[in-house]
């Protein structure tokens, strides 16, 4: 079996097992972290192409609201269908927005992506007769694969769905990173001139990556909505998008597994920071970001990378002496 597939399956089993062992509140925090990790995975794919999006909240909200409308207005009740609908809606919106954004780079890309998310935020706030305005929408407990569950069983089923979708997305991102398209994105970051002089379209590579990142953010949005049971315009607000970039930097871009690690650490820090200092928890996160940029610019993944390097050296020296 391929190492990445084996690692993904191992993590899948581990997280599913944790769902049966850990207290309910930790399961909730983990579910939120993994769902946000999906969005961050998209942010990291864009970073491979040298692009920083401060507007992934757009797709996060599109996914959540599409699922919310589907369940509230159109009678869809299944969580799996909701995830598929939310991700598809985000892919469609990203496919349209990408036509504009694929033409821009650097600060213009970052600001345009932010602008689009803020337009959606404005619409969600003002169209209160459909969206519920700043109060948002409450989502009724969904069915899961046709089963009507409640209480802890529903919580566990939604967590399991989040774990499965996240594992599938991570493996997909891994394959993407090694595919010609993934290399196209990296090549765009490295040298756009040579990309065009190999007959490859820079805009096309950026566009497809942007759409994929949008789909991941949409899936993440639905999963957050399902786990929380409520959606609100804040999902599209720029601070939410900033949070995803924060997590991407916290986890690092060294691997497709890094965003998940970053998201879990972030969610735990945020939960405890909020618990012990409810009025200054942002200060705690700011201090962590400062320390990270100063002392660990490659993110938490550098710790794993260093350990892996050390382990390889030990194995080599052990083989030599044996």
């Amino acid at each position: 079996m391929r190492p990445a597939l084996a690692a993904t399956l191992a993590l899948l089993v581990l997280f599913l097992a944790l769902g049966l062992l850990l207290p309910e509140w930790i399961i909730f925090v983990l579910a939120l972290a993994l769902a946000k990790g999906l969005v961050v995975l998209g942010v990291v794919l864009l970073m491979y192409g040298g692009l920083v999006s401060f507007g992934q909240g757009l797709f996060f909200a599109v996914g959540a609201y599409a699922a919310g409308f589907a369940m509230k207005l159109w009678g869809f009740q299944d969580a799996v269908v909701a995830v598929a609908l939310g991700a598809t809606a985000s892919l469609i919106v990203a496919a349209v927005a990408g036509l504009l954004l694929a033409r821009y780079r650097e600060i213009f890309f970052a600001m345009l992506s932010l602008a689009l998310s803020m337009i959606l935020y404005g619409i969600l706030i003002k169209a209160y007769w459909i969206t519920g305005g700043s109060d948002g929408l409450t989502i009724a407990p969904p069915r899961v694969l046709g089963f009507a569950l409640a209480g802890e069983k529903l919580r566990l089923a939604l967590y399991a769905l989040t774990v499965v979708v996240t594992a599938a997305a991570v493996y997909f991102a891994y394959r993407y990173a090694r595919s010609p398209l993934g290399y196209s994105a990296r090549a765009v970051k490295d040298n756009e001139v040579r990309v065009e002089y190999l007959g490859v379209s820079v805009a096309h590579a950026v566009y497809v990556t942007y759409v994929l990142a949008g789909g991941l953010a949409g899936a993440g949005g639905v999963l957050v909505a399902l786990n929380v049971g409520h959606i609100e315009p804040q999902l599209a607000y720029w601070t939410t998008s900033g949070e995803f970039v924060f997590i991407a930097l916290l986890g690092g871009t060294g691997s497709v597994f890094a965003p998940l690690g970053g998201a879990i650490v972030y969610e735990v820090i945020r939960t405890y920071a909020f618990k012990y200092s409810p009025y200054t928890w942002q200060l705690t996160l700011g201090a962590i970001m400062l320390a990270l940029i100063l002392f660990m610019p490659g993110g938490l993944w550098t710790i794993y990378a260093a350990l892996e390097r050390q382990g390889r050296q030990w194995r080599l020296s052990w083989k030599r002496t044996a």
């Binding site: 595919s179 010609p180 290399y183 001139v193 497809v208």
Partner: protein, 248 residues
């Protein structure tokens, strides 16, 4: 005789500075042409015009009977015209092998494939074969950032040859390559390109290389072609001797 590449009255100015003026050139299939000229003579501008990096103010460019004037680099490349650069244009964040694999995927029109790895066994074998004549095969797994300047130059050329172009434009291919290696590299390069019947236009700064390998030389002086023909005649031209060779 059939022509591969033709330019008619090609002109380009930057503000008040005339970079190239009224360049009319005809290149036949599998011909090897070397462009010489002092700094600022318009050699690289000419390559930039032909490959679509710059749009000419006047004149037009024909490739295999088709007008390609003003077409962007991507389209020109897809038509079969590749180039290397004076300053190597490579992917410094990738390994030597990954650079070539990416170029091969581009030739195979698989750059946008989402499923399936870039590094397939077939592509890897072809990449290693391609790197061999450039002396880069043993460096295949090294990050590009670790290569010496000459190695970067050769990798840039390897990327353009990976596309299997009909016409190849090489901008000072041996600058930065050690004087010990440059003749061996040039001979290997010429042999490979002749085997494939590639039409080649070199921009050349090294007169040793010109006198040793050139069949046809074009001399640029202040944006114009002042001599075009066999090297012996061109290098004996008084205008060339004065402006290009700094003699007389």
């Amino acid at each position: 005789m059939a022509t591969v590449l033709e330019t008619h009255g090609l002109s380009k100015s930057f503000g008040g500075v005339v970079a190239v003026e009224d360049i009319t050139v005809t290149v036949t299939p599998a011909e090897v042409v070397r462009i010489v000229g002092s700094n600022g003579a318009g050699k690289t501008t000419f390559l930039n015009l032909v490959t679509g990096y710059l749009r000419p103010d006047r004149g037009h460019i024909t490739y295999l009977g088709k007008d390609i004037t003003g077409r962007p680099p991507r389209e020109v490349t897809q038509l079969g015209i590749a180039r290397s650069f004076q300053v190597p244009q490579i992917y410094r964040g990738l390994t030597v092998l990954e650079n070539v694999l990416f170029a091969l995927a581009a030739r195979q029109k698989e750059s946008y494939r989402l499923w399936g790895p870039l590094m397939t066994a077939e592509r890897q074998a072809e990449a290693l074969t391609l790197l061999e004549p450039f002396g880069l095969r043993e460096h295949a797994d090294r990050p590009v950032a670790e290569l010496p300047e000459g190695g970067l130059k050769l990798l840039d050329i390897a990327l353009s040859t990976a596309l299997q172009p009909h016409v190849l434009l090489l901008d000072e291919p041996t600058s930065g390559v050690s004087s010990k290696d440059k003749f061996a590299v040039m001979e290997t390069l010429l042999r490979v390109l002749r085997e494939r019947k590639v039409t080649v236009i070199f921009v050349e700064h090294d007169m040793d290389v010109v006198t040793r390998y050139a069949e046809r030389v074009m001399a640029f002086v202040e944006g114009k072609i002042v001599a075009d023909g066999p090297p012996r005649d061109v290098l004996a031209d008084p205008a060339v001797r004065k402006a290009v060779l700094g003699l007389g």
